[in-house]
Every structure is written in C-alpha cells, then in structure tokens.
Amino acid sequence: MTGKSLFQKIWDDHIVVPETADTPAVLYIDLHLTHEVTSPQAFSVLRSRGLKLRRPDLTLATLDHSTPTVPVASLKDLDIVAEPAAAAQIRLMIENCREYGVELFGFDSDARGIVHVIGPELGITQPGKTIVCGDSHTSTHGAFGTLAFGIGTTEVGHVMASQCLLQRRPKTLAITVDGKIGAGVTAKDIILAIIGRIGVGGGTGHVIEYRGSAIQNLNMEQRMTVCNMSIEGGARAGMIAPDDTTIEYLRNRPKAPKGSAWDAAVARWRRLPSDPDATFDREVTLDANLLTPMVTFGTNPGMVIPIGDPVPTATDASFRKALEYMRVVENKPMLGMPVDVVFIGSCTNSRLSDLREAASVMRGRKVAKSVRMLVVPGSEQVKRAAEAEGLHEVFTAAGAEWREAGCSMCIGMNGDLTASGQLCVSTSNRNFEGRQGIGARTVLASPLTAAASAVAGRIADPRPLIAH
C-alpha cells in the first residue's frame, strides 16, 4: 500500500459518511469563517426553515469585503462613509451574528480584519483542520497544512445548519519548487510564476500541495501568499505541510491550544506531512533559482511574465481583447509603463512582512507625483504592529494613504476604486477586467515591485532599489 498525502490524511480524518458511486461524501468542517457579503442569504435559509446554526463555536465572523477602509468608530459613522447598500449589509451581518450566537470581529474589535488574515493571526487556523468560507481565497489557510477551500452561499448555509458539506474527493497536484529565490524575488513571484505555468484552469478539479526547498524556506506569511492564489490556478485548495515554522507561528496565539492540549496537537500535526511514498495525480516542478519579479500583462493571473520580458504575441481573440483592454503592446515589456495607482493590501499581501517589504523600498523616497498610493493593512492587529514599528510614517512621509483594515481596492466594493482607464500596480490577486473599478487596468505584482513602481511612477524592477 502506498503512503498517504497530506490531503488524503485530512480528508480521511473528516469523513462522516464515505462517498459512493451514487453519492458524495459527507465531510465534516472544523472551522467556518464568514463575512458580510456571502452570508446574508445563508442566514435567511436558516431563518426561513427554522434551523439552528449547529456549531457557533466553530464559526467566526468578520467585516471586511464591503467594509470601508476609512475609520468607522460607530454605526452612525458607517452611514456617513459607506454606500447605503453596503451599510445595510454590514448592519445585517451584525444582527445575524448576534441572533445566531456567532463571534463577530466587528468595528468594536481590535482584531477585525480580512477573514484570511485574522484566522491565522488568532491561531484558530491550525494544521489538520478542514476550513471553509464563502470566499475563494480560503485556500490561504492551506499554508498551515489545512484543507481549506471557498464555497458558495448555498454551501455556507449547509455548513451553518449541519457543520458538513457534500463533497467528491478532488484529485491531487504536487507542485515542487526547489532552489533559492534571489534578492527582490518574493513568494508572490513564486505563485505568479506557478500560475503562469499551469494556467488559470490548470488546477481545476485538484488540490495542490506545494513542496520543495523554496517553499520550506518561506515564513508563514509568505506561505499564505502562495496558497492564497491557488484558486487563480483553478485549484480550490492549496496546502503546505506543517513544520517547525508552522508550529512556532502558532505557539501562544490566542486561539491556539495551550498546555498539554498544545503538546497533543503538535504531536498530531507532526504526523500530517505526506508520507515519502505518497503519490499524486499530477506533478509539476519549478526551479526557484530562475525566478525573477513577475508582473501580469493581461486580464487574468495566468497572463504573467518576468518583469523584464516582452509581452507575448497574441495567440487568439480572447488574448487580443485582453491586451486591448490593458492597452499593452505585444513584444514590448511592461517595465516603464506609466502608473496611476499603487495598492498594497488584500488577503494576498497585507501582512506585516508585506508592509515591511514595501516600506523598505519607500523609506526616504517619495511616491511619484502622478501616483496615488494606498496602503491597507490586512487587519487591525497588522495595523497596530506596523504602527509600532513606524511603518505608517514611512508610507505617509512618502505621500501614501494609510488606511483601516479591509479588502479595499482588491474588490472595489467598499469605496476604494481605481478610475476607468487608470493603471494600478496591485499586490492583490485578480487582474480581471473591472475588478478594481469599471475600466480599471490592474497589474499584479509583489509588494516590492508595487512600491518600486510607486516611487518611479512607472512599472519598475525593485531589485536596483534594494541592492544597496
């Protein structure tokens, strides 16, 4: 018998009813994260059918997606700063959480933030768990060796009512990245290169396990960046085996186990990594030594190139349409294109290490006059930690805006928008048409590349700025 993969171990440990040829498995969910945008219709189902929320103790809520990133001290403020529909949605979330006994990290909480930032920060994201959320970037939590994936609102209702989901076992895809990334190359560049390789549909039907020395050498925040964008390669989940780095990150976090429970948990987590003889349905390898900073040039994250490379020649009508939308020219590099907006934030790149990287480039420099730069910490905790180090002063002294935590300009439904036709170098995860505002042109990049581009006023390689 061959060994089991990390995925298989977690899957097997959560089977309430096994799948058959005719029926899917009933899979138990250990943690349900929820936010204001994809939960209202699920709460409505509970209400209309007179159902209880089965495990409020395994459910955690925050306000992030439609929540403004300007300060909101009270709900009265909310009505002033938020669009009426967004304000109503946030109020409904607060009421729903109160009625169903769900712990909400709301405006009165010093731990509010983007759902995929606060789970790990609180230490409730733990190896071996199944974690779901009505958000496709739930794959982020896979960085801890969890099986974590995004679900739709109907399934949000299923988990609320039963703490389970009906699931077919997905296939597995091992992506091995060996070698050492150079200075100025980041976890964001690794995952963009992976998506460039497999394509936006390459992981459909699969769960990815990221492996290899370049992955093991990443810290937890960097691993989260990698797993976060699994969905941009079509995979609902991406995961990394837990190790000492994982365990040290979780030690003493508020919701991590304590005392003897901690020791028992660590012993269990140590058994999770894939067995040496585990097999995968597919395997892909990348050489980290060859990676450079990456930038997208088109309208999906698979349309990505090394920063110095020319934009590829269009191969079909969809490709051509993407180049036209982006106003980029075939066979010319993205490097040097004028930039209007720079956004540092999102569940991909809004954690303390991301802000430190951006600040390392900004320190003593100015945002180019033609550029609006927005720095949005992923959580109130990240914000406080960054302020304690003076990072906010680096950004504001450079001329950037320093905001409250939230999804902000990644999704553009909270007031933070890029205007039509403007080009935004963004540390977020999606360069889809209109994602950051109608007609907005998004170039995905690392915090280092985004910061370097803010200073230059043009798409810029960060490596010369960090070499000294």
């Binding site: 309430v16 209202p40 609102t153 109907t154 997905p170 459909t204 969905i231």
Partner: protein, 194 residues
Amino acid sequence: MDKVNLVQSRTLVIPQSDIDTDQIIPARFLTTTTRKGLGKALFADWRYDSAGKPKPDFLLNRPEADGCGILVAGNNFGCGSSREHAPWALLDFGIRAVISTEIADIFRGNSLKNGLVPVIVDKTTHGWLIENPGADVTVDVAACELRLPEGRTVTFPIDGFSRYCLINGVDQLGYLLDHADAITRFEGARSWQP
C-alpha cells in the same frame, strides 16, 4: 430549487475564454442581501455603457438573445470568485444551462445547487457550437446528452447524485440533514476536537 431535466433552446454564444465571475456579475452588485433580481446585473460591464445604457452591439442586448436559455462560452467558464451571485444572475436572466470545454469548480458546484446545468463538451463539439451561434440544441440531464441539430448527440459528464438532484429539484440541505445522527456520532467519536 426548480426541477430541470430538458433545456431546449437556441444558444447564446460568448466565445471569450476564461470568463470569470467578476464579468458574470461585478462586485458592486454584491451588496445585495437576497438572491433575487440579479439578471439585470448579468455581464453588466460588458452590457451597459458608462451612463448605464445598454450597448446595442453586446449579445445580451440584441433581439436574438430573447428567450435563449443556453449559454455557450469560451474555454474555462466561471473562474475566480466564489460568488453564487453568478449563477443567480444567469438564472434570473433566463439561462438554464452553460456549455464550455471546462467549467471552474466553485462555479460548477454553485450552479448545480441552483438548477443551472453545467455542460462540459469536447473541443470539436465546442468549436462547432462557437461557430454556430443560435443553433437549436437540447440539454437532456437524465440522459447526460447534448443534442445538436441534424440528430448529432454528445454525452456530457455529470455525477449521479447531481443529476438526481437537478431532475427532482432536490434541495441538498435536506439530504445533508438526514445525516444528523451520523454527524452527531462523528463529533462524539473523534480522537481530537477542533
């Protein structure tokens, strides 16, 4: 969920590949707290100009779109965000089945739970459908068949459980709650507690 077995219709063809759910329904429409009335937001950024007027050359605004219940899209339809508003918007507009060579996982799952039939076909069939917009076709869920004009038929994959739920309009939550005892036993028997 409404029952769906046979969907018989002319096709609407949007040949672009990798159509993501942000295109199907942009995020600014996600501040709604109901499932209803999202058809007007379907493909909003492609469908309306900056003043909110329908763009006459966009397919959904043309007379031939009236009454069409089947959308044929380029490769890899429905990637990106998990928003269930995407199938809600398609259904509200009147689309009952989507056809592509590949359909993204989360969108596919969301569609099946709302009575929107995801139909995955081979490249040749797909190529023919793209080249022949407005073709009269039938999606037969029970038979897992897509019937093309002139008697041509291709099968498409759909697992037995999903097929049963579509044909009978089964709400999967009811099925799940029938396992309440097994869930309670599982919770009690675990070697560790989350």
